[in-house]
Symmetry: D2
C-alpha cells in the first residue's frame, strides 16, 4: 500500500502517519520525492483495508498494491478450478452448455425444452422456479412445484439442473433439487445469501451484477469461498451502460480478465446480455472465441407464449444451429463441446 | 401500448397480432402510416406486461404509454405522502436530517455522535448494526448488540432511529429496535426482502441501487406498497458512472424527477454519494436546494478510527456548520429545518 | 410519431395539437384510451424532428416510430455496402485486417511493422501521423512527414494505408497520401470535420465515440453520406463504462446490431477497446466470431520504446498467431481472411 | 510514479527496469515487500508519461502519484483565476448568469430573450450561431448572420455575448463578434480546435464532454492554457449515464471537485444537463448551492416554435423567478448575484 502525503507536512506529522501504519504490524518505508513524500506500507496490506487511513490528517490518497481478494486469486491457486457435477467437469477442456427456459411454467414446457437441448448437445438444464422480477405484478415463478418439474426433466433426460435461489430461507428446498445453485445479478451483493451459500455443499454460479466491476464480482465470490464453498463459477451476463439497443452491454473482455486474475471458471450468458433472440447466436460464438468455459442460453419451444423473457429465447432449431457453430469454434481454440 | 409492425405484413399477419391483443381484453386500434403500420392497444396495458408481444412474428417493437408502476405514482395519489414517526413528519414542510455514524461500534461511540447531532438540529439518529460490506474480511457490524446501543442512544437523546436490515430473517429483531427500516442500495432489488418489508408495520427508507434507473427504483417501492406498507421514502445516494473522483455520481436531478412521478418523500445522502468529507457540505446544500425532503449524513467523533467509511464522516462541528447553512437555504425555498 | 397527451385536456386543447401536427403536412390520427389520449402523426415524421412538440402545452411525451437516419439504414439500401480500395473489398465475404503501429515514429519503424504484418496476412497498413492525445505534453505525431513514411511503406509492401485526420484544414494533405481516412472516437461528433469528409473522394472509417449510442454513431455516418460520400465503414473500439480493468468496454454486440440497422461494413478494434496486449488475441477472435467485416490491430516491433500505446501493441509473432487463429474462425462462419 | 513489479523477478530483470527509469533522469527507489517489489520513480514523472513502462517485461502496473495536468492545477496557482470581461469578473464573489436562446433564429427572437433576461439580472447573453446537431437534417444555425444578431442585441442591452465555435476555420469570424468563446461538449477533445483557441485572445468556456472524467476535462483545459490563453472557465453540463429520465446526469459534485483541483472558475448549465424545463429551476438552485461561479440557462420567448431545444428553455417569467430564488441562495453562502 502506498500512502501519498499532502505537500508541506512537518516531520512530526509524517511521523504520526508512520506510527499509525506500524501499529498494524506493517513496515513503513519513506520516500521523499520532488513534489510529494510517499510511504510504502510493507506487509499484508489487507490488515489496513478497514482502517480509515484516508481520513488521517496529512494523507492525500492511498494506493493499494495488492488485490483485496485472496482465495479467488490466481496467486492463491495457480491451476484452474475444475468443478465436477455428475461426472461433468466445468473449467476443463470441455465447454459446457446450460440451456432451457427462463421460467419453469409447466411439467410439459420444461420437457419440451429439455429434450431438444439435450439432443443438440447441451449438458445442463436451466430453468427458474423462484423468479426475481422487476415488477411485483409479473409472474414470480412456481416455487417448489417448479423445482419438481425440473427434477422430473432431469430424470428423463439425465441433464443435471441449475436454478436460482433468491432467499436464504429457500436454500434448503432448492438444494434438495438443484445440482448447481445460481445467484442472480441483482443478488450479487446480497451478502447474507452469499454467506449461506458459502456453507452449502452444492456448486454455485455467481452472476455479475449490473453495476459490478470485476473486482466487486471477485469479492462477492470471495464471500462464498471464505465460507467454505470452493466450487464457484462466475457468469458474465452484461452490465448496464448508456447503450439501450441491447438490454445490457455484454462485457466479453471480462472473460480473459477474470481468467488472468482468478482460477475460477467463467460462464457467459448471451441471452440476458443482449435480450434479443437474433443476437444470441453471434454472441454465443463470440463468447466461446473469447474463452468462456460454459454458456448459459435460454430456449423455449413457444416463446410467443412464454411467461418471461420470450423475446430472447431461442427456438430449438436455432439452438441446434448455435451448437453446430460453436463446436467448430471450440476446436479452433483447442477445446471441445 | 403501441405495437409497431414490421413493414410488408399481409392482412392475415396483421390480424393475428390484433387477435392476440384482443385476447387480453384490450381494444386494438389500427393505424396505417406511410412506412409503418402501428396498433394502439387500448385498455390496461399492464395486463400485457408479461406477454411476449415482442416475440410475435411481425412485431418490430412495443412502446409502452403508461408507467409500469401504479401505487407509487402521482396519478394514483395526487397529494404527497407524509410519514409520521414519533410526531415527526417526513414529506411535509419540514426537512428532516438523519445523522450518526456509518457503523455502530460501541455504546459510547453512538452517544458521542448522537448528542452533538441532536444539539445541531438532527431529528433522527442513523447507525448500522448489520453492515453490507464489499469484503468478507471487513467489519460486518455488531448485530443485535449494535441495535441495543442505538436504542440506548434514543433513550438518552429522544432521537428515533433508522438502521439497515439485510436479511428477511433479521426483520423481527430489527423491527423491535428501529423506527425506520433502511434497505440499502445493494438490496434494492432483493425482492424477497422487499416483500417481507412490505408486510412490516414500520416505515421504510429504500435506497436507490447503483445501477437503478428511476423507474427500477419506483418499481422496487411498488413491491413494498403492493404488499401493504404505504410508508415508504426513497433515498438518492449516488449511481455508478465512469467518474471516479467521487465514490458515486450524486444524481440530484432525481429529486425533482421523483417528485413529479411519485407522491413518496425523497431523502438525499451526500455522504455515500460523494464518499469525501469535504464534499458533504456543498452537496448537502445542493440537495436541499434541489428539493429533498430529508438528508442522511454520516457523523463520527473520531473518523480516523472509524471501522467503516471514515473518509466521508463529518466531525460534529462540521455537521453543526452544515446545519446552519442548510437551514437558511430551506427558508429560501419556503421550507424549514 | 406518437404524441401522448396529458390527462384531462379539453377538446380545444387537443384540437390545437392536431392542428400543429397537420401544419407540417402530416395526418393526425386520434385514439382515446382509458387513461391517455394519443395522436399518431402519419407521414414523414422527420419533418417534425426539429419541432418542439414536447414543448407544446398538453403534450406529455413524443415517441418516434421511425429511425432518425435514412441513407445509412437497411430500409434505404437492403444489400451490404461493399467498399473497394485498390482491389480489396471491405464488406464482402473476405474479412480484412488493418495492422501497424499506433503512431508513425520513423521510416524504419513503420517498415518494421509493415513487412511482418503483410507476411502474416494483413491487407491494410495503419499508422497515425496526426495524433489526438489527451495530454498536450504527449507526442502529437509527425504530421506530413509521418504520412510520407506510410506512403513509403505502401510502396514497398503494396499495403494501402489508413490514417487519421483531425482537422478539416489537414484534409487535403491527408487525402494526398491516405487510401482510407480515419475519424477518431473523439471526433465522432466533430460535425465540421464530418461534413468536409463527406465531400472527400476517399473512403472513410468512422470510429464510435466513447459515449455514443449506436444511434448517435449512425447519425454521424449519416452526415458523411448526406454530403455525398457513400464509402463509409464504422469501427467499434469500446465505450466508456464504470469498468476500468480494460481501457474501454468492447461492445461486440454492436456488430450484429449495426448489421441489422445499416448496410455499412463494421470494423472492430480490439487494441483500443481493451488497451491490454494479452487481451487482443481473444477479443480479435471474438470480434470475428461476432461478425466483424474487418479488424484493426496495433503492432509494434519494439513496444517498450513506442511513443504511444505500447502496452496494447502486439509483437509481430503474436500478430502472426492471431492471424492463424482468426482465419480458422472466419471459415467456421463462412467467411475468409 | 510507483512501478509495481511482477512477483518472482530476478535481480537482473529488476535492474533493467531501474535503468530504464534512470535513463529519463529520474531516481529509482526500490522497496521489497512481502508479495511484491515496487519501485518509486522520483523526479518529474510527467517525463515518463509517454513512455510505455507498462510494456516493460516484469512490470505489472504503473501508479501515477502526480496529476498529469500542471498549469490548470491548484498547486500551480493557489488563488482563483478571475476572468474580467467588460468589467464583469467571473470567478470572484459575484455569481454571473449567462442566458438566452439555444439557437439564434432571428434578430427579433434574440432581442425578445435578451431584454427580459437583462431585466431579470442576467449579465451575459448566450446564443448559438454555429450549432452542433446530432442530425444533418436539423437546423445548423445562421452562421455569421446569427453572430451579427447577437452583436445587435449586445448593442441594445449592453450584455456581452458568449457563443460557440465549432471549427478552427471559423475562429476569426467568431472572435470578431464574441466576448466569450464556447467549446461544446462534443468538441471537448477536438484538440486542433483547443490549440487554436489557446492562441486566441478571447476568454473561453470549455464544456465537459459526455464521457469525460474530471481529469480528461482538466487535460483539455491544459491544452488551452499551455498554448497561452489563461482565461478559461469550465462548464459542467451533464454526463452520459444509464439514466434517461433526464437528458444527461448533472454531476454537481464536479463543482467542488474542480474547485479543489484547479483555480479555474466553474459554470453550471442546468438546461442541457436536464433537458427538461421544469427541472431547470431546482437544479439552478442546487448548482448555486454547490458553489458554481456562473450559470448558463436557456430562455426563449416562444419555446413551442424554437428551432432547437425548446423543451428545456425557460419562459422569461420562469427565468425571472429563478433569478429571484438563486439570489437568496447566493447570499446564504456569502456570494451575490
Amino acid at each position: 500500500m502506498i500512502v501519498v502525503l499532502k505537500p508541506g507536512l512537518t516531520q512530526d506529522e509524517i511521523q504520526k502517519v508512520v506510527e499509525r501504519i506500524e501499529s498494524f504490524g506493517l513496515r513503513a518505508h519513506l520516500s521523499e520525492g520532488k513534489e510529494r513524500t510517499i510511504i510504502g506500507a510493507i506487509g499484508d496490506e489487507r490488515l489496513l483495508a478497514d482502517q480509515s487511513l484516508e481520513s488521517f490528517p496529512g494523507v492525500e490518497k492511498v494506493l493499494p498494491i495488492l488485490k483485496p481478494y485472496k482465495l479467488v486469486s490466481r496467486e492463491f491457486q495457480r491451476v484452474n478450478t475444475v468443478i465436477e457435477i455428475n461426472g461433468r467437469k466445468i473449467g476443463g477442456k470441455k465447454i459446457h452448455v446450460m440451456a432451457g427456459p427462463c421460467s419453469v411454467e409447466s411439467k410439459d414446457q420444461v420437457l419440451e425444452a429439455a429434450i431438444p437441448v439435450r439432443e443438440a448437445g447441451a449438458t445442463f438444464l436451466r430453468g427458474g422456479a423462484f423468479k426475481p422480477r422487476t415488477s411485483p405484478y409479473s409472474f414470480q415463478g412456481l416455487g417448489e412445484e417448479g423445482l419438481s418439474y425440473l427434477a422430473h426433466a432431469r430424470e428423463i433426460t439425465g441433464l443435471p439442473i441449475i436454478t436460482e435461489v433468491l432467499d436464504p430461507r429457500d436454500l434448503d428446498v432448492v438444494c434438495r433439487y438443484a445440482d448447481i445453485l445460481q445467484i442472480g445479478a441483482r443478488n450479487m451483493q446480497n451478502f447474507s445469501l452469499l454467506r449461506e451459500i458459502g456453507k452449502a455443499s452444492k456448486p454455485v454460479m455467481l452472476k455479475r451484477g449490473l453495476a459490478a466491476t470485476v473486482e466487486d464480482w471477485l469479492m462477492s465470490a470471495e464471500y462464498i469461498l471464505s465460507n467454505g464453498n470452493m466450487n464457484v463459477m462466475l457468469c458474465e451476463r452484461g452490465i448496464r451502460t448508456f447503450e439501450t439497443y441491447t438490454r445490457n452491454t455484454f462485457d466479453l473482455s471480462a472473460i480473459p480478465v477474470v481468467h488472468k486474475r482468478s482460477h475460477l471458471p467463467v460462464v457467459a450468458d448471451p441471452s440476458h446480455a443482449t435480450g434479443l433472440r437474433d443476437k444470441v447466436l453471434p454472441m454465443a460464438r463470440a463468447a466461446v472465441a473469447a474463452g468462456a468455459d460454459a454458456l448459459m442460453v435460454e430456449v423455449h419451444h413457444d416463446p410467443e407464449n412464454a411467461l418471461s423473457d420470450g423475446p430472447q429465447a431461442l427456438l430449438p432449431d436455432q439452438f441446434y444451429e448455435m451448437m453446430r457453430q460453436i463446436k467448430l469454434i471450440a476446436e479452433v481454440i483447442g477445446r471441445k463441446i
